[in-house]
C-alpha cells in the first residue's frame, strides 16, 4: 500500500514546464492554419455574393430580352391584324361604291 502511494505521489508530482513552453504555445496559435481557414471562408462568401449578383444580373438581362421579344412579336401581330382590317375595309368600301 505504501509503495502504491509513493508511486501515485511521484506521478502527481508538480513539474515546472519547460522554459520555452509558453513561447511554443504562442507560436502555435500564430501558425498559418487559422488565417488560411479565414481566407477560405472569405473566398466562399465572395464567390456566393458574385454568383448571386451574376445570377440576378443574368435574370435581368434575360427578362429584358424576353420583354423586347414579346413587344416585337405583339407589334408584328398587331400590325398584321391592322393591315388585314384595312384591306377588308378598303374592299368593302370599293364594293359599296361599285
Amino acid at each position: 500500500m505504501r509503495e502504491f502511494e509513493d508511486e501515485l505521489r511521484s506521478a502527481l508530482r508538480r513539474e515546472e514546464p519547460a522554459p520555452d513552453f509558453a513561447a511554443r504555445v504562442l507560436a502555435r496559435t500564430k501558425s498559418k492554419r487559422a488565417p488560411r481557414r479565414t481566407g477560405w471562408v472569405a473566398a466562399a462568401i465572395a464567390a456566393c455574393v458574385l454568383l448571386s449578383v451574376g445570377g440576378f444580373e443574368y435574370r435581368q438581362y434575360e427578362g429584358r430580352k424576353a420583354k423586347r421579344e414579346l413587344l416585337l412579336a405583339l407589334e408584328i401581330a398587331g400590325s398584321k391584324l391592322n393591315i388585314a382590317q384595312k384591306k377588308i375595309s378598303t374592299l368593302s368600301q370599293r364594293t359599296i361604291h361599285e
Partner: protein, 174 residues
C-alpha cells in the same frame, strides 16, 4: 378510351406550335424575325412589363398566354416561298379548333386570320401574311382579345410597323 385519346390529341395539336421547315425560308431570307416565347420565358417577359402606362395594358393582355410565336422572313426577290409552303402552314390551322375569320387572296398577296374560340373567349390567334417578298406567321396561344391586339400596332406606345417594307429586326447576317 380511344375517344379520350383523340380528344387529348386534338387539344395538344390545337395548342402546338406550327411546324414547318423554317430554316429553309431563313436560308433564303435577307432579314428574319424569329420569336418563340412560352412557359417560364413568357412569364418572365410579362413580369418585366411595367405596371404603369401602356405596358400595364399589354401586361394584362398577355397574362395567361401560353405561347407567342412569330416567324417573319423578308426576301430580296420574289418567289422564295411557294403556294405549297403556305398550304402546309395553313393546313395546321384547321377546324374544328380553329376558325378562319379572314381569308384575303389578292394577285400577289394573301392574308388569313384564324381564331380559336372556346365558346367564351378567344383562346388563340394565327395570322398568315404572304407578300411577294415577305412571309409572316404569327401564332398566339392562350386567352387573348384580338381587338386589343390590333390596337398594339401603334396605339399602345409600340411603333406601328410599316407593312410592305423591311421589318425592324436584326439582319440575317448579324
Amino acid at each position: 378510351m380511344s375517344k379520350l385519346v383523340c380528344f387529348f390529341v386534338l387539344i395538344s395539336q390545337a395548342d402546338a406550335q406550327i411546324q414547318f421547315n423554317w430554316d429553309k425560308l431563313a436560308a433564303k431570307s435577307v432579314e428574319k424575325v424569329d420569336v418563340s416565347l412560352e412557359g417560364p420565358v413568357l412569364a418572365l417577359a410579362t413580369m418585366f412589363l411595367s405596371d404603369k402606362g401602356d405596358e400595364s395594358k399589354i401586361k394584362n393582355m398577355v397574362r395567361g398566354l401560353k405561347g407567342v410565336y412569330v416567324k417573319s422572313f423578308t426576301f430580296d426577290k420574289d418567289g422564295q416561298y411557294t403556294e405549297a409552303d403556305l398550304a402546309e402552314i395553313r393546313a395546321q390551322v384547321k377546324a374544328p379548333e380553329w376558325s378562319r375569320i379572314v381569308d384575303m387572296q389578292e394577285k400577289h398577296e394573301s392574308s388569313a386570320i384564324y381564331l380559336k374560340y372556346d365558346g367564351k373567349q378567344t383562346q388563340g390567334v394565327v395570322v398568315v401574311s404572304a407578300e411577294p417578298r415577305e412571309l409572316t406567321v404569327v401564332q398566339i396561344i392562350g386567352p387573348i382579345d384580338p381587338s386589343m391586339l390590333s390596337d398594339l400596332g401603334g396605339n399602345l406606345g409600340i411603333p406601328r410597323m410599316h407593312m410592305g417594307s423591311k421589318p425592324k429586326t436584326t439582319k440575317k447576317d448579324d
